[in-house]
């Protein structure tokens, strides 16, 4: 190519580019007046449109949570000019000192910038809003934002639904700028885990505002506006009536109830007592009320069902019976004698020796210590430790010792000791069945949460599998899409080993320790338990499922410091099963009355919360 042409190519390119850019400038600055609009000192204002949060219903379509409009007074600090402070304070009903203090506080908020809108006064009353709206044009830079707060139709199920509150700095950071100071976010319960679905998406409206704060209309006909997307409505798997009954029955008691639908893993009721009224945590006093609840020695904010580990007591006997069969160290005909206990584990008087089924029915401690011993000291394994590892695997396959993955915030994993745990205490190969014998009857270092207890019960009801418990059934009318809540988790126990155990559990209710739980016409399989509590009176435990032939509900009830399982936990479970299966709850009025009226909190205030 010609050298002189090469020398001039760049020059030509420069000229062409300069020409194009100058033409473009001519167009932008002189011809196209849509850009000129802004020349009249119009200010582009970004307004946030807050979406309505999704509504929450129970499994039968009963509305539980809805929205309420609130009005926040916001301010764009740098647009505040010539403010008649006195008039302004009068409308808001505050003193001038308060006004100055509020403004100073705004300036020290994280992320403050004079050109960013921020909330000046949260949730002004409707009369204030009206008075303010009248004089809006006198108060340049101030404007009212409408958003929604939560309202709870009933005062129940607080722990399930959780609550919303203002975002923290951390939330803002994590959200990549989506959340703004003062926005609401789900903090616990379903509100937290389903924030994405319930929260919807904020929209933005761009308006031109002149120097006197008067709106000059939409910017570019709303070309850049994004509409708010409303949050999705959610159906919980909770049966509201069952939940309500359960909460009523737990009045003045400390404890938990978890009811599941075995076939689906859906949580039918989730009660942690003491609870609180969800309508406390809304509105302007949210923060104050929250602090009060936080300081309450009864810890009403603590969700026991998910996080409180209890010694499981008798549910462990059931798992032991299944594991023993699976490991071929136990058959339904294996009989052990009982002379008021085994080693240092005591037992109550009953016939002896007994085979498996009646041993379950009378809940013989000695029997299950023997089963545990034969599992861990199984001669087919070289060390007790190896046998224990196998035992651990079987028990863990029921979902014990780890988080199940429920869609609620704050789940605990409970505690199921691994072999290494005992190695640390006793040294490697230095321990065996008798060293850890209390495990056989579900005492000792074990801890399982009421949710895990209910889940294990559901697993027995299903004859060998469970679906991870979950609380959200439908989202916007469609099945909860999370496959975690659809897949079956099979245990390591063969289905064939379940029937004899279930028969034993049925005997418990028909003619055993939980006779009080019997409901004519419904076959219930259950098991009472009494969990030793080093801090006070034993915990009363009962878990059951019904009907035996086609389980529709599996339930675990723990009443703290209430003594025998049959006294409190079993009747409460029975009343709830009846309500759920038949819709009736007043066939046994006396029993119900007695349960509701029973006040177990007043006499042991000091010990009530120590299991946490």
């Amino acid at each position: 190519m010609d050298k002189t042409f090469k020398q001039h190519t760049l020059l030509i390119i420069f000229i062409v580019v300069a020409f194009i850019y100058i033409c473009r400038l001519f167009y932008l600055q002189i011809i196209d007046d849509s850009y000129f609009l802004s020349a009249q000192n119009n200010v582009l204002q970004e307004q946030t449109i807050y979406p309505a949060r999704g509504l929450i219903y129970d499994r039968n379509g009963e509305l539980l949570v809805y929205n309420d409009a609130i009005y926040d007074l916001s301010v764009m600090p740098e647009q505040v000019k010539d403010l008649d402070t006195l008039a302004f304070c009068k409308v808001l009903n505050i003193t001038k000192e308060e006004f100055i203090k509020k403004f100073e506080r705004l300036k020290h908020q994280k992320g403050y910038a004079p050109w960013k809108p921020c909330v000046f006064e949260r949730q002004i009353t409707i009369p204030t809003y009206a008075a303010f709206q009248e004089r809006l044009f006198d108060f340049h830079g101030f404007f009212v934002e409408v958003r929604t707060d939560r309202k709870y139709k009933h005062n129940n199920a607080a722990h399930v639904m959780g609550y919303i509150g203002e975002v923290t700095d951390k939330d803002i950071e994590k959200s990549d700028g989506y959340y703004r100071m003062g926005d609401f976010i789900g903090i616990s319960g379903v509100e937290r885990t389903y924030e994405k679905q319930l929260g919807g998406k904020k929209g933005t409206r761009y308006v031109l505002v002149d120097s006197k704060s008067r709106s000059q209309g939409r910017y570019k006909n709303g070309e850049f506006d994004t509409p708010a997307v409303a949050g999705k409505n959610i159906n919980l798997s909770i049966d509201y009536r069952l939940q309500q009954l359960g909460e009523e029955l737990l009045t003045n008691k400390t404890g938990s109830v978890v009811a599941l639908e075995p076939k689906t893993g859906e949580i039918l009721a989730l009660i942690s007592s003491p609870s609180y009224n969800p309508n406390l945590l809304i509105g302007r006093d949210r923060g104050k009320k929250y602090m009060e609840l936080l300081r309450d020695p009864m810890k009403p904010l603590f969700n026991r069902t998910l996080a409180a580990p209890y010694p499981p007591g008798s549910i462990f006997k059931i798992l032991m019976a299944l594991t023993g069969q699976q490991e071929h160290v136990l058959t339904p005909n294996t009989a052990y004698g009982c002379h008021h206990g085994y080693m240092f584990v005591g037992c109550h008087p009953h016939g002896s020796p007994l085979p498996l089924r009646p041993a379950i029915a009378v809940s013989c401690n000695a029997y299950f210590c023997q089963v545990y011993r034969s599992i861990v000291n199984n001669p087919s394994y070289k060390h007790a430790e190896d046998a224990y590892n196998v035992f651990y695997k079987h028990i863990a396959s029921f979902g014990l010792g780890s988080k199940l993955g429920v869609d609620l915030y704050g789940e605990g994993s409970g505690f199921l000791p691994k072999a290494t745990f005992y190695d640390k205490i006793y040294g490697r190969f230095r321990w065996q069945a008798t060293t850890t014998i209390s495990l056989g009857i579900g005492q000792g270092e074990l801890g399982i949460t009421p949710l895990q207890m209910a889940n294990a019960t559901a697993t027995v009801a299903n004859r060998g599998y469970y679906i991870v418990p979950h609380i959200v059934r439908r989202i916007e009318g469609k099945r909860n899409p999370d496959t975690l809540y659809q897949n079956k988790h099979w245990t390591t126990i063969d289905t064939g080993y379940f029937p004899v155990v279930i028969e034993g559990m049925q005997d418990v209710v028909e003619r055993g320790t939980a006779y009080v739980a019997r409901i004519p016409g419904i076959n219930i399989a259950g098991k009472t338990g009494t969990a030793q509590n080093p801090h006070g009176k034993d915990h009363s435990i009962f878990f059951a499922f019904a009907p035996v032939e086609n389980p529709k509900i599996a339930i675990a009830v723990v009443i703290e410091n209430a003594g025998f399982g049959a006294t409190w936990a079993a009747p409460i479970a029975s009343l709830m099963i009846e309500q759920y299966l038949t819709g009736k709850h007043d066939t046994r009025k006396d029993l119900k009355e007695r349960m509701i009226k029973g006040n177990l909190n007043h006499r042991n205030d000091t010990t009530a919360t120590q299991t946490q």
């Binding site: 300069a18 473009r24 400038l25 600055q29 002189i30 850009y35 609009l37 020349a39």
Partner: protein
């Protein structure tokens, strides 16, 4: 060493004057774009303008220092300087600080530096040295072509790994240098066509492009005298374009991640991201448009509405000029910038030493590329690629590196007089 010192008369004073004009306007623009009433002092170092002022002092000082250095130094140390910049780039990859998603910063005692900026003159020096070496012929020798390409590509790859797309693209400006040194014109043209085709492939469904290309090819064949080989070549090119367009589409849909796709879409204006890139451009156009013929005057720009544009003192600095000085000011600005580029081009062509010429060309090309993309972006004509406007944008390491880049050339050029005398 007296004969090697540049005589004051031999320094290109016009370029130097333009440099000082630019940094002054630049500082005033930074001042105007982040000005707040409570902090009116331009030396307030808590504000961007105060910091920029410090960087101006540092840059001018180092620039003057460069003018005092023996011009042979740059030739002798071209490779070591290149090696150091490459080393810094690699170092950043290992220990760099991440700012706005790009991990291209090194932090030393509160000061942040972007080695990618320094890689520009490092590469320019190395390329100039290599191509001016004994018996080198870029036009003819394959080996020389490959090594030149490697010199340019090495920093590009590392900078791309730092997620600094803008700075990576700047290295494409070396294509002008290579063109001047013998790269055939059709490669320049083909590069341009490929670029346009690639962008089109993402904007328009592949079938439309292919139909369009087929029509063009058909028209072309109808208009010229058809020979068998011409038809075959045209068909071959059509086939190649088809494969290219489809493969770009495939990579875009299947290889890239969702957020990368969004970014590219926003870049191309397919998706309006009102909070991000697209919004900045909208706002930038409003600001420039609102300047009108005469502009609003210094500090009269309604910057408050403009604070939506977070990069106004860096990448969108031209907005301030457009808004406050209007069409008149903008044209003067473009005129001055063009004058600098013409001047530098003229200076490059008047060099007798190949090293000086190639370096000079690199300077012109780099500055022009920045101008092209940056101003084009604020005018909504170019995709939003975050690269600064040399001498104007806020940013210490950028200002310093452009100063060094320019002053080395002024120093090299000043020696021309000595050369003449020595003949």
């Amino acid at each position: 060493m007296t004969p090697l010192q540049p005589k004051p008369s031999s320094i290109d004073w016009i370029t130097l004057l333009l440099y000082f004009i630019f940094i002054t306007i630049g500082l005033l623009s930074v001042y105007a774009s982040v000005y707040v009433e409570s902090k009116p002092m331009i030396w307030d170092t808590s504000m961007n303008y105060g910091k920029q002022l410090i960087w101006i002092f540092i840059s001018v000082f180092i620039g003057l220092l460069i003018l005092l250095i023996d011009e042979k130094f740059f030739y002798a140390f071209a490779y070591p300087i290149y090696a150091i910049t490459i080393f810094l780039l690699v170092l950043v990859l290992a220990i760099g600080t991440t700012v706005k998603g790009s991990s291209s910063w090194i932090e030393i005692g509160g000061f942040r530096m972007q080695p990618a900026e320094f890689a520009k003159f490092g590469t320019a020096l190395a390329l100039a040295k290599y191509l001016s070496g004994y018996n080198k012929n870029f036009e003819k020798k394959r080996r020389d072509q490959y090594i030149s390409a490697a010199i340019i590509l090495a920093p590009m790859v590392i900078i791309l790994l730092q997620n600094e797309t803008g700075s990576t693209l700047v290295f494409f400006s070396f294509i002008f240098v290579l063109y001047r040194e013998g790269l055939p014109g059709w490669i320049l043209l083909a590069g341009l066509v490929l670029g346009i085709l690639a962008i089109l492939a993402l904007l328009v469904p592949a079938t439309y492009i292919l139909i369009g290309l087929a029509i063009v090819a058909l028209l072309f064949l109808l208009m010229v005298r058809r020979t068998k080989s011409l038809v075959l070549i045209t068909m071959g090119m059509l086939l190649f374009a088809g494969v290219l367009v489809n493969s770009i589409d495939y990579v875009f849909q299947n290889v890239l991640q969702a957020h990368q796709r969004t970014r590219i879409n926003v870049l191309l204006g397919k998706e309006v991201d009102i909070k991000g890139a697209g919004y900045n451009v909208q706002q930038s156009k409003i600001a420039i448009g609102s300047g009108g013929f005469w502009g609003k005057g210094f500090l009269q720009g309604t910057q408050n509405k403009f604070r939506f544009v977070p990069e106004q003192s860096t990448d969108f600095i031209f907005c301030t000029i457009g808004e406050e000085y209007g069409f008149v000011g903008s044209v003067i600005f473009i005129g001055l910038y063009m004058y600098l580029l013409f001047r530098l081009l003229m200076m490059a062509e008047r060099q007798r030493q190949k090293f000086n010429r190639i370096y000079g060309y690199s300077v012109v090309s780099i500055l022009f590329f920045h101008f092209l993309i940056n101003v084009g972006m604020t005018l909504g004509l170019m995709p939003v690629i975050g690269i600064p406007l040399p001498f104007f944008s806020y940013g210490g390491s950028a200002l310093l590196s452009f100063t060094v880049l320019l002053f080395i050339f002024i120093r090299l050029d000043a020696n021309r007089v000595n050369e003449l005398k020595s003949f």
